[in-house]
Amino acid sequence: MGKATVIPFGPQHPVLPEPLHLDLVVEDEKVVEAIPQIGFVHRGLEKLVETKDYNQFVYVAERICGICAMGHSLGYAETVEQLMGVEVPKRAQYLRVIWHELSRIHSHILWLGLAADAFGFESMFMHCWRLRERVLTLFEKTTGGRVILSVVCVGGVVRDIDDAQMAEVISVLEGITDEYLQIMNTLISDYSVKNRTVGVGYLSHEDALELSMVGPFARASNVNYDVRQFGKGAYGDLSDFQPILSNEGDCYGRVVVRCKEVLQSIDIIKELAAKMPAGDIAVPVKGAPAADAEACNVLEQPRGECYYYARGNGSKYLERMRMRTPTSQNIAGMVKALDGCDFADVNMIVLTIDPCISCTER
C-alpha cells in the first residue's frame, strides 16, 4: 500500500466547463476518497426575487445557466402559474415543450462533444458541435436568441412558431438525424470509446436510489424515473413515453442513455409538431400571488429533475424562490462513483454526470 496523497482537481481544469473543485485522496494511482467543493460561481440569484417582480424574474431565472436557460424559465413560469392558478393555453404548452426538447438536444450533443474531447476524440468533438450549431440556428430563427431564448412568460410564451418555421424545424431535425446516427453508432460501438468508458465509474441501482440520483445519471443505473412520464403539459398528449434506461451503471451506460435521449427528443418534437393545436399563445396574468400561497413544481432538465418552490406575499414580488438542481443531487453519486477508480479516469467520471455548477450554485 502506497502513501496517500491529496491531489487537487479543479476548479480550473481542461475537462471542466465550469468550476468544481475536488480533493482527490490517491493511493497507488487509485482514488480512495474524493471531497467535492463548490462555491466559485455563486451569484445570489434566488435573492433577486425580492427585487424583481414575478414577470421580470423570468429573465433572471433563465440566466441561472446558459445551457438550461429554457428549462429554468419554463420551470419558474410553471411554478408561478401554479401559485396564481393560471391556465396556460394548449398551444403555448406545446411550444414550450418543443423549445425545451430542442434545448435538451443541444445540451446532450454539447455534452457528447465534451465527453469525446475528454477521452481524446477531437474529430468527434468537432462533429458534435457542428450539429449542435444547427439547433442553435433553429433557436435563433424561432426565438430570436441563440442561448438565452427569452420566449417564456408567466401565462404562456411571447412568440409563436408558424407552419413554415415548424416545417423548417422538422426538416433540420431530420437532416441532423442521419449524421447524428453515425456519431451515435461510433460512440456506442467504437472499441476505443468502450476502453475508456465500460466499467468505469460504476454506480449500482441500489446506490443510485439511496443517493437520490436523478436524470440520465440515474437512468443509466436503471432507475426508472423521468419527470416527463408524469405527463405534465404537452407531455400528456404524447402517444407513448418511456424513459431511456440502461443496466450498465458505468460511464458507457451514461453515454448510451444520453445518446438515445437525443433521438427520443427528436421524436417528441415531431409528434407535437404534427399535433400542434391552434389558439392563443398566452393569457394575460394580472394581480399578484396571495400572501403565504405556496407552489412547487418539478421539471425534467437535460441533467435531470429540477425542483422549484415559490411562496407569495401578496405583492408582485415573491417572498421566496427556491430551486434544487439536478447536479446538486448528482454530486453525491459522482463522489461514490469516484471511490476506487483509476486516477486517469477521474475526468471521464466527473464529466459523465454532466455537471452544471452554475445551476447548482445559482
Partner: protein, 119 residues
C-alpha cells in the same frame, strides 16, 4: 474497421461547403426575428415611460422635460419587454447586430414635440 466509422462523415466534409465563415469579412445573414438591438421610432413615441417601468434591468431612461428617450445597451438584455409594453408600437427589435462599441455610453434619441412642430 471500427476506426473508420466516422471516416465517411469526415471524408464527406472535404467536399461540402464550410460550416464556418470568415467573420468579420463575411457575415451570415441575420434571421428575421433575431433580437439584435432595440430601435425607436421618434415620431410615434409619446414619452409615457411605460417601457422604462417594464424594463427588468433599468436600461431605459425617459426624460419628459428634456424630451429624451435613452437606452443603455450595456444594461439591455434584449428581452423585448419594452417592445411588448409600448402602447404606441414606437419600439421594435432590429435583427441587425451593431458593431463593437468603443465606449460605454447611452444611445440618446430626441423626441420631437408635436405642439412645436404644429406651430
Amino acid at each position: 474497421m471500427t476506426s473508420f466509422k466516422l471516416g465517411g462523415m469526415t471524408f464527406g466534409s472535404l467536399f461540402k461547403k464550410p460550416e464556418t465563415c470568415q467573420y468579420p469579412a463575411e457575415k451570415k445573414e441575420a434571421p428575421v426575428g433575431l433580437r439584435g438591438h432595440i430601435v425607436i421610432d421618434e415620431d410615434k413615441c409619446i414619452l409615457c415611460g411605460i417601457c422604462q417601468k417594464a424594463c427588468p434591468c433599468d436600461a431605459i431612461n425617459v426624460d419628459r422635460k428634456g424630451r429624451i428617450w435613452a437606452i443603455y445597451s450595456f444594461h439591455c438584455i434584449l428581452c423585448d419587454s419594452c417592445v411588448r409594453a409600448c402602447p404606441r408600437q414606437a419600439l421594435s427589435t432590429s435583427p441587425d447586430l451593431k458593431s463593437v462599441t468603443t465606449g460605454k455610453f447611452e444611445s440618446v434619441s430626441f423626441i420631437p414635440d408635436p405642439k412645436v412642430d404644429k406651430a
